[in-house]
Symmetry: C2
Subunit: 354 residues, 2 copies
Amino acid sequence: MSNKQIIYTTPPAPAIDPSLTSGTFRLNTIPIPKDVPTDKLLVRVHYLSLDPAMRQWLTAKRSYIAPVEQGAVMRGQSIAQVLVVGSDLTSKYSKGDWVVAGSGWQEYAVVDAKEAQKVTVPAGGRPTDAMSVLGMTGLTAYFGMVEIAQVKKGDTVVVSGAAGATGMVAGQIARIKGAKRVVGLAGSKEKCDFLVKELGFDAAVNYKDSDWRKQLKIATPEYIDVFFDNTGGDILDACLARAAQNSRFAICGAISQYNAAKPQGPASFMSVISQRITLKGFIVFDFVKQYSAALQELGSWLAEGKLKRKEHIVPGGLEAAPQGLIDLYAGANTGKMMVEVAPVSEALGPKAKL
Amino acid sequence: MSNKQIIYTTPPAPAIDPSLTSGTFRLNTIPIPKDVPTDKLLVRVHYLSLDPAMRQWLTAKRSYIAPVEQGAVMRGQSIAQVLVVGSDLTSKYSKGDWVVAGSGWQEYAVVDAKEAQKVTVPAGGRPTDAMSVLGMTGLTAYFGMVEIAQVKKGDTVVVSGAAGATGMVAGQIARIKGAKRVVGLAGSKEKCDFLVKELGFDAAVNYKDSDWRKQLKIATPEYIDVFFDNTGGDILDACLARAAQNSRFAICGAISQYNAAKPQGPASFMSVISQRITLKGFIVFDFVKQYSAALQELGSWLAEGKLKRKEHIVPGGLEAAPQGLIDLYAGANTGKMMVEVAPVSEALGPKAKL
C-alpha cells in the first residue's frame, strides 16, 4: 500500500500555484511505513484542515511558528484514525481511536503522542467538531472575543470573515455574551443570508457590493465597540473609520493580505488616536492553559443550541488540498474548510462515527 | 491700542499656506476689548504654543475635538498675563497673574475663568514649564509612557519625534522608570547628539539617514518592548517590524501624516498578530483626574535634575505663527515650540519673572 504526500517545493510568488508538478507543491508517493517506533502512532488521515495561517507558514518571516521547509511535507492538522500503536503507548491509545493529528498533508503519518490529541466528544459535540468549533478555530474565536476584545453587554460588534470557521463562532459568542448588535462582513449574498437567517446576526454586509462601506455605516448606527478582524486591508480600514471611542479591535488574521506582494496598511490608522482605540493581536496558543475551560463552555453552548456549527468539505482526496487552499483565500467556504482525504466509510471498526 | 488676530480662512490643501493675505490664515486687526464681562478675564498673550495637533483641528473629520470654524480666530494655548479681572473673579485672579490661557492666536483675549489656569510653579519648575514639561506635552508623555505603554524595568523603549516637546520627556520618563535601553528617532544629527549627550538616551537614530532602518535594528538588539509614537508613517512601520513579543505601542501622534492628502497605513501591520502587539491610542484629556499627581511627580524629577527641559522660541510676533507651525511639521524644533508674541520685558509688574 502506498502513502501519498504533498511536499512544499517552491515559495509562492506571491500567489499559490496549485499545479502538483510545476507549482508550489509536489505530489510524492512512498510506501506506508511498516515499522512504527515504540513511542509513536501510525494514523490514517480522513479530514485535512485548511487554515488561513497556512500561507504564512510558507514564508520565512519572523512569526509565531517556524516556516515549513522546502522539501518537507506541508504542515497541517487532520482528523485521523489510529492504525498502529507503538508499544509504549498502548495504555493511552487503541487501534481505531480518532485523533486530531499534526499529520501534515499526507494520507498516512507517523506521529508523536503529543501531536495526536484523542478526540473526546463533550456533551453537544461530534468528532469533527474537534477541528472546528471545539478545536483551534472555536478556541480562537473564544479567546479573541472574550479575552482580547473583552466583549460586554450592549456592545456593537463587527466580525470580518464572518462566514469563516472562526468568524462565525466569534459573532455567535458576541451574541451569547450580550452584545447589542452583531454585524458580519462576508463575501457573498448567500453567506450574508446564512449569517442573518441561520446564525442570528443582526445584519451582514457583502464586502463585494460597491456600496459596502455605506452599508456598514447603516448597520452600525452607534459606531463599533468591538471589531474581530480576520481580513485586514480595506475592511480593517473601514472599521477604524467607524470605531467608537475606547473601542477594542481583536486582530486575529489578515487573510486579504497574506498573498499580497506588498501588504497594505490601514489608511485610517489615525482614528486609533482620536477614538482611543486599542488594537491587540493574538495567537490562540498563548491561551493553552485555558483551553479546557473554554471547550467546556463552547460545548455547553452547542448542547443548548446557542451555538451553531458549519463545515465545508472539499472532495477529491489529498490532491485537492492546494486548490482548496487557494479557494479558502478566495472565500469559497462557509464554515470550517477541510479536505476529505478518505471517506468515513473506509474507516476501521465500530468507532468510525464521524 | 489694537489687537492683532489670526483668523482661519481656508482649509489646507493639504499643506498649510503661510501667506496672511492669500493663505490658510488671515491677519485681522481690531481694537482691544474695553468692557470685560464680570465672569471673564482680559489677558495679554506672551508665548503662543505651537502643537502638532493643530493641523488636525483644521479638518472636519471626526476627532476628539471639534474643528476650528472658518472665520474664527485660530485655536491655541498661550502663556498670558492677566490685565483686567471681571468683577466676579477678583477673589481668584489678580492683575499681573500669569495664566495658561485658551486665548487663540491673538495678542489679547477675553477668556472664561475655566480657560485660564493660573500658573503655579511647583518645586523645580519655572513659569514657561506650564506650557511644556509641566503642561500638556509633559502630561502627554507621562500618561503615554506610564499608563498606556506601562513601561517597566528592563524594557527596550523607542520614542519617535524624540527631540520634540513630548518625545524628549517620554524618553526621559522611560529612563527614570527603569528602562534598560532608551532609543530616540529624530530628524537631524544635532537632535540626535542632543538626545544622547544632553538627555542620556542610549542611542538616537536620524531617520533622514538612508540607512536609518539598519541603525534602528542595531540600536535595538533585543527588539522593541515599548514604542511611543509621535510620527506614524514609515517609522511606525519600521518599529512594528522590530517589535518584541507582547510589546506595547502608545500611539500619541502621527505628525508625518497630518499634512498627507492620502494617509499611509503601516505596511508591517501583520506583526501585530505574530508578535501579539498591543497598539493603544490616547488623548491626554482622558487623564484629567490624574493631572495633579502626575505634575507633582514631574516637578520633583525636574527639581532632582532627573528630567531636563528644552524650549524652542520663535521670534517675530504673532505673524510668525503660521510659518512656525509649518516649521514644526518640518521638524525645525528641538523641544517645546512657542511663538514670542510679546517679550517678557513688556509684561506688567513684579510677577513678570518668566
